[in-house]
């Protein structure tokens, strides 16, 4: 169905179901319970999950398939966001022109940067992409302030031209049908679940992009990209020109990043220059590797993990901890709080660092492959062989 084999179809359906049911799945704890701190089902974070999912899926088309490690993909995310906000400033708050423009502009940037950077391979390529992205960031933060609004980030002012604006428009919307920020809250007993229009738009796009990436992975083009990664010498002596293949992959992943950037700006009409900093480029690299580079679902998982830690763990403070461990005797409570404190709140970086090390040490190949290994171990030897067969015939699972 849809040009997918059974296995891929199953995976697509699972992803789609997870995306659609996310408001329930991410809010498993009653609103007033102590565990509610771990709920992630509020619009902003759900949007970030899927948007960074798109970013990572796209990055994986380049890195996972061709092995070219770009350290400058955040530049495309940034120009995507700037394009969308500029459309808000020039036309109106309809998100569609902005998103289309952001994909196009990111694609053009990717053609230029990719054409130059792909003249080199390995770490030389990584550093070239890093250099381009850092130049973009540094200039956006300072000299290009008239275009990017520098430090503050590009935002919409009432004094902007907005040639197509109607007087009811105050926030991003889709053809006037629905505002991105509109949210329904469903109260079910002690639980509450948020259904946000913007989230669903992003989620649908994410599923579409995920579908597209499966198709690319399973296409002759995808096979050629894996051939690039595997052996460029043989590729060339087989009469294939590796460069346009890698450039195409680079541009596609740049456009994914542009789409993600456009969506970020559509959900929240502000584009900060930090989106282009090397740390942002590094983040998507980490997401992809953490989840499992070259696997279809890994990057999405990795993106979810990192964003979860950033947004949930950073908000747990000492007071919350005392609430949680209040049942313990005083001395013990303080001891436990003292220990845990280092890993939450301002210590969330530490948790992330430890997580990176744990995953790469104990689950080589990332969360997804590690998970598969564990499953295989549990299932025993026979299915072990089966599993190996399937991964071998479709190593880019």
């Amino acid at each position: 169905m849809l040009g997918l084999n059974k296995h891929d179809m199953k995976m697509l359906l699972i992803v789609a179901a997870l995306a659609m049911l996310a408001p329930f799945l991410l809010n498993p704890f009653p609103t007033d319970s102590a565990m509610a701190q771990f709920n992630a089902g509020y619009p902003d974070l759900m949007q970030r999950f899927v948007i960074f999912g798109i970013f990572a899926i796209g990055f994986n088309i380049l890195f996972g398939l061709t092995g070219y490690l770009s350290f400058g993909h955040a530049a495309f995310l940034g120009v995507g966001s700037y394009s969308t906000v500029w459309m808000f400033k020039l036309l109106d708050y309809n998100i569609v022109p902005g998103i289309i423009l952001s994909v196009i502009v990111a694609g053009l940037f990717a053609v230029v940067i990719g054409y130059v950077s792909l003249r080199r391979s390995g770490i030389y390529f990584s550093i070239l992409t890093l250099a381009f992205a850092q130049m973009s960031f540094n200039l956006a933060y300072s000299v290009l302030t008239p275009i990017t609004n520098g430090e503050t980030g590009l935002q919409v002012y009432t004094s902007d031209p907005q040639y197509l604006i109607d007087d009811w428009e105050t926030v991003p919307h889709l053809f006037g049908l629905v505002e991105m920020r509109s949210t329904y809250t469903m109260e079910l007993g002690a639980w509450s679940f948020d259904f946000n229009a913007g989230y669903y738009l992003c989620a649908v796009l994410m599923v579409l992009m995920f579908y597209l990436s499966i198709r690319i992975f399973r296409s002759p083009f995808g096979m050629m990209l894996r051939a690039v990664k595997s052996n460029q010498t043989r590729m060339n002596y087989t009469g294939l020109n590796a460069k346009p293949y890698t450039l195409a992959a680079f541009v596609i992943s740049g456009m994914y990043a542009g789409l993600a950037g456009g969506l970020l700006a559509s959900m929240d009409p502000l584009a900060g220059a930090e989106r282009m900093q090397w740390t942002a480029s590094g983040e998507v690299v980490l997401m992809t590797i953490l989840g499992g580079a070259g696997t279809l679902i890994g990057p999405v998982v990795g993106a979810g993990f990192i964003k979860y830690f950033e947004n949930i763990f950073s908000k747990i403070n000492e007071n919350v901890l005392h609430e949680w461990f209040g049942f313990l005797p005083d001395g013990l409570e303080n001891a436990v709080v003292w220990v845990v404190e280092h890993f939450v709140g301002s210590g969330w970086h530490l948790t992330l660092g430890v997580l990176f090390m744990m995953v790469v040490i104990f689950l080589p190949g990332g969360l997804v492959e590690g998970g598969q290994r564990i499953m295989r171990m549990l299932r025993g030897k026979k299915s072990d062989n089966d599993a190996e067969k399937t991964t071998q015939s479709t190593p880019a699972e």
Partner: protein, 343 residues
């Protein structure tokens, strides 16, 4: 003219910091084939060795001075360093004053130890793993190291001054026949430059003139063959990692008086040091040093007003522009070898 000479001095000074950090990084690349994102953190830990030593020397006991009050109006607790009470106020004070140079001795065993532990405990298991895994694990380690330092020392920079004798600046201009005050340069930065030159020279001499160095150089060129010769290259690589860590650490110790150390200073240098190493060419020690000085000098020139007024913002991007130009004209950087980290 004077401005150009000044910027050359600045460039040499910046360059020596870049070169020192890049030297260790490229040693690890070249010998072990590992992408070490924790190298910046080693530099930072070096700087905090200086901070720690100065804190240790400043360990004090408190006496209450009834004549003064603290900010809450309570009697002031006056601190006296143990060192001062043991060695007398004058000698004690000068020991404290010389904390940073003393920290060189203090840091070498610590950094080599950290290097050994890192290599044996972690990096060793990643030689055969993809570069992506190396990046993830070393980046994770860098974060952990940072957070540990942040926990003990806070996020604020900690002033770590150079000894009093090195304060102020030296008037170069008068030597060259300029008017006084035209070309002045801080003593400590001159010390840093000289120190970097010594360290770089030592590392090169060590690799050039010792059997150990010969084996390591052979290992950098062709690891498998050296392994086949029955030489225990692993042990040597551990030592190399220790040396690389020590070089980064020493660069950090001496850098502490130039800019107050803070816990994320390593990350500030990380990207830059990668650029330096790659521009120099993967696996080339002279390349890394040359690129360090080249980028340092160009960066200094780009910050001159004359140049900034022609090309606004050029100092923001000069490093990257140079990196792009060099990598496009010389495929493997200044002196890179074929086949190192090209896939």
């Amino acid at each position: 003219m004077d401005a150009v000479i000044l910027q050359i001095l600045n460039g040499l000074d910046k360059g020596s910091a870049y070169a020192l950090i890049a030297l260790g990084l490229t040693l690890i690349f070249g010998t072990l084939g590992v992408v070490n994102f924790a190298h910046g953190a080693l530099f930072m830990i070096g700087a905090f060795c200086a901070v720690s030593l100065s804190k240790i020397l400043n360990l004090s006991f408190e006496t209450i001075d009834e004549t003064q009050t603290d900010f809450l109006g309570n009697p002031l607790k006056v601190k006296t360093a143990y060192i001062e009470s043991w060695f007398g106020p004058e000698l004690g004070a000068s020991i404290i004053d010389w904390a940073v140079p003393l920290a060189i001795l203090f840091s070498i065993p610590i950094m080599i130890g950290i290097g050994f532990i890192m290599e044996r405990g972690l990096i060793k298991h990643f030689y055969k793993r993809p570069h992506a895994d190396q990046i993830l694990v070393t980046f994770g380690l860098a974060i952990v190291m940072q957070e540990i330092i942040k926990h003990y020392y806070g996020a604020n920079p900690i002033p770590t001054p150079a000894p009093d004798v090195f304060k102020g600046s030296f008037d170069f201009g008068t030597l060259l026949g300029f008017d006084p005050n035209v070309i002045i340069y801080p003593y400590w930065r001159l010390v840093y430059f000289a120190f970097a030159a010594v360290i770089i020279g030592t590392v090169f001499a060590f690799l050039q003139f010792t059997t150990f160095g010969m084996v390591v150089r052979a290992g950098m060129a062709d690891r498998e063959t050296v392994g086949l010769l029955g030489i225990n290259i692993d042990k040597r690589f551990t030592i190399m990692f220790g040396i690389a860590a020590a070089v980064a650490g020493l660069a950090g110790v001496m850098y502490a008086p130039i800019n107050s150390p803070n816990y994320h200073m390593g990350m500030d240098f990380l990207v830059l040091s990668f650029v330096v190493v790659v521009v120099g060419g993967m696996g080339s020690l002279p390349g890394a040093v040359a690129a360090g000085f080249l980028l340092g000098i160009l960066e200094s020139f780009a910050s001159m007003n004359e140049i900034k007024s022609l090309l606004p913002g050029i100092d923001q991007i000069i490093i990257y522009v140079v990196a792009i130009i060099i990598l496009l004209t010389r495929p493997r950087g200044l002196m890179g070898r074929k086949g190192v980290m090209e896939d």
